[in-house]
């Protein structure tokens, strides 16, 4: 049955096409001059350029981390282009009518119509193509509610007070190697501000697309939920199918002020490389949120793509009674490698965190959960519950769990449960005996395994995520 499943895992990557758009792309290479040019392209104020240059110096003195359970060829940072934008975006189209139809078609093909009338009702989209945001929908409707939803490059120009106050406040430049690099060369991403006491009237989402060859994408996202506000945000990502590896090094910062709530969901489907591990995206991401008093941040991620994933969406539970949640499904197949998990840092009293991680490994892939729960001395009465389940498909893959617990407060309670199971011959046979083909059987068993996480996704996307797993597993059985 291992044979069967291996065959089943050979599948098409549906988002692997290349869009035919003419782009302005920097020559590969990284130095101060490149950073100045990015800043100029983005029409940035002086303070932003200075911050970038400072970050660049910091980065140059740091070393690439090697503690993750992943194995890949060293990245040549001089071989990457740090900026690429469709030529048509140069004149800053004022409305959708002025946007290159090829770009609109690209998103349509990916199932993301940008024409407002055709969109999922109640979802606003920021579409980022290589290094620029192509369009952000429903901005007027959102601004009626006082919500700011725009590309971060625009926020730097139009809302400098907010950006200066919060950018880098959750993930400092020095945080880690890729974060420092991102601070120096980031290009676009989304900016969200929800005013006090406001419930954002729509779901917000950003769709990241890498198109140009040899470029890195350095996404930067900042979400600020002011006191008592509420927002649900979703990001999706895809890239063409190419033999070379490409780098996506993102930094996402969430700020939930007192009594605010942020729900952040990711459906990550970067090109995973071929069966032998050729090509695919290196997804090295730093995501972190800070919760003030009574605030709540909930991360939900469905990770099916990328050649290598290195990602730990985390919560700093600073305020008393704040809540952090992490729900994750990570599927690896072929030669994919994922090292993902979360950090829950409990600082305030009666802070609570929940971690539900579901790792599915197939083929020759390697899937690791790495999680830290830290109870600081001030975290009286804090609680964490962690559940970490691994599902193995076939017998050539690996699942690993690295839970770290640091408790410096005797009144804090940390609970950890872990299981490892296999898609068994008995389960497969039961399904087939009832008339299901093996592909359907595997995807149903895997979907069942992920149920607790899928129910955390916004409804429209839960269906998408289920389908994505189905496509990912297509052909995993013979």
């Amino acid at each position: 049955m291992t044979d069967q499943i291996d065959k089943a895992l050979e599948r098409e990557y549906e988002a692997g096409f290349v869009s035919d758009v003419e782009s302005d792309t920097f020559e590969p290479g990284l130095d101060e001059n490149v950073i100045r040019r990015i800043s100029t392209m983005k029409n940035e104020p002086e303070w932003m350029l200075e911050a970038r240059l400072k970050a660049f110096k910091v980065w140059q003195e740091m070393e690439e981390p090697d503690w993750a359970h992943v194995d890949y060829e060293k990245i040549d940072f001089q071989a990457i282009s740090y900026f690429s934008a469709p030529k048509s975006m140069k004149d800053k189209p004022k409305s959708l009518d002025e946007v290159d139809p090829e770009l609109i078609r690209t998103y349509e093909k990916l199932g993301i119509p940008l024409i407002e009338q055709q969109m999922l009702a109640g979802v606003a989209v920021d579409a980022v193509f290589d290094s620029v945001s192509v369009v952000t929908t429903f901005r007027e409707k959102l601004s009626e509610a006082g919500v700011i939803f725009c590309p971060i490059s625009e926020a730097i120009q139009n809302h400098p007070e907010l950006v200066k106050k919060y950018l880098g406040s959750v993930v400092p430049t020095k945080d880690n190697y890729y974060a420092a690099l991102n601070c120096a060369v980031f290009t676009d991403g989304s900016f969200v501000y929800i005013p006090k006491g406001t419930r954002c009237p729509m779901e917000l989402s950003t769709y990241f697309r890498i198109n140009e060859q040899n470029t890195g994408q350095f996404e930067r996202t900042l979400i600020i939920a002011d006191e008592g506000s509420h927002v649900s945000y979703l990001e999706g990502c895809t890239a063409p199918q190419r033999d070379e590896n490409q780098l996506h090094a993102a930094v996402v910062e969430l700020v939930a002020l007192d009594d605010a709530e942020i729900k952040y969901s990711t459906v990550q489907n970067w090109y995973p490389g071929d069966e032998n591990g050729k090509g695919g995206i290196y997804n090295f991401v730093t995501k972190r949120g800070i919760c003030h008093t009574n605030a709540k941040i909930s991360w939900t991620q469905v990770e099916t793509g990328s050649a290598v994933t290195w990602k730990y969406p985390s919560c700093v539970l600073k305020g008393d009674n704040s809540v952090g949640e992490f729900y994750s499904v990570a599927l690896t197949r072929g030669a994919q490698q994922a090292d993902t998990g979360t950090k829950m840092i409990h600082l305030g009293k009666n802070t609570k965190s929940t971690i539900i991680s579901k790792g599915i490994s197939a083929g020759r892939s390697n899937n690791s959960y790495r999680g830290l729960v830290r109870m600081n001395p001030g975290a009286d009465g804090a609680r964490n519950f962690t559940q970490c389940d691994s599902l193995l498909i076939g017998d050539q893959c690996g699942a690993h769990t690295f839970p770290y617990v640091e408790s410096r407060n005797p009144s804090a309670i940390v609970e950890h449960e872990a299981t490892t199971s296999k898609v068994s011959d008995d389960q497969m046979f039961l399904c087939q005996q009832r008339g299901l083909d093996p592909e359907k059987a595997v995807s149903m068993i895997v979907n069942g395994f992920c149920k607790e996480v899928f129910k955390e996704l916004p409804m429209e996307f839960a269906v998408e995520a289920g389908k994505l797993l189905e496509i990912s597993l297509e052909g995993s059985v013979g």
Binding site: L430, Q433, R434, G435, L436, D437, K440, G448
Partner: protein, 265 residues
């Protein structure tokens, strides 16, 4: 290996000289059985005789290889088909040990199964609303609370609940040939009646049952047309319902085949 030119339309299941092995061990050694529409055949026999193996080989479980013989279901030679194709052709196996599929609700599983079978037969899909009605009725018929439709397949079910769940699946799938593998084992008398009533309600002129059991008591409720004794991989004796009573009184020893064939190691 197959011998299909003997299409016998008056038979729903014809097994001829079936030899099969698992892990290079010969288990079935020349099994013959003919089941006509509407008939109920009981298969009895000592532990390790090959009763479960017969069910697995017929339904196409991986790891079992057929060396010789044929099996024809309603005119279709099934031994070259995939397991799911045999199921779609109308073969149903109620498992001796039903397995759990955590997180997949019974209802979802049943709907997917019925959809897959109907689609393969070119029949129209049943709407979700209609299917829910059918599923509720089946659930009631096997005396399981409706909450079981929402629970994961066999997840945390007791032994008896699992067996009733098997019968519920059978009711919804409406197969042509049902093989029940010790569905009565471990059941209390109430559950036994539920299972028997489930079977009896499905008895019809175009459906047949092969009931594997150790106990005469099931056959008090499901009246078999034939009783066979399977020992060492083949049918060593066949008779009518009275044979089961005889076996209950005397055991199997008097029927064991002589050792002349030897044991295939």
């Amino acid at each position: 290996m197959s011998n299909t030119n003997t299409k016998d339309t008056s038979s729903l299941l014809t097994i001829k000289d079936l030899h099969a092995s698992v892990e290079e061990k010969n288990i079935l050694k020349g099994l013959n059985l003919e089941v006509k529409p509407g008939e109920v055949h009981a298969i009895m026999g000592p532990n390790g005789a090959g009763k479960s193996t017969m069910g697995y080989v017929l339904s196409g479980r991986e790891g079992y290889s057929v060396e010789q013989g044929s099996a024809v279901l309603d005119g279709v030679d099934i031994l070259d088909l995939e397991a799911e194709e045999r199921a779609r052709a109308g073969l149903f196996l109620a498992f001796q040990y039903p397995v759990e599929i955590p997180g997949v609700s019974n209802l979802e599983f049943l709907k997917a199964s019925v959809d897959a079978q109907r689609e393969a037969r070119g029949e129209e899909a049943v709407s979700s609303a209609d299917f829910l009605k059918l599923a509720k009725a089946a659930c009631k018929q096997v005396n399981l609370p409706l909450a079981f439709l929402k629970r994961g397949v066999n997840e945390g079910f007791s032994g008896g609940e699992k067996k009733r769940n098997e019968i519920m699946q059978m009711l919804l799938l409406q197969p042509k040939v049902c093989i029940l593998d010790e569905t009565d084992s471990g059941l209390d008398i109430d559950a036994l009646q539920v299972v028997a009533e489930g079977v009896n309600s499905q008895r019809s002129n175009d459906r047949s049952f092969v009931v594997v059991t150790h106990y005469q008591r099931l056959l008090d409720y499901i009246k078999p047309d034939f009783v066979h004794v399977l020992a060492d991989g083949k049918i060593v004796k066949s008779g009518d319902a009275s044979l089961a009573l005889e076996l209950e009184a005397q055991g199997y020893a008097w029927l064991q085949p002589s050792d002349e064939e030897g044991q295939n190691a």
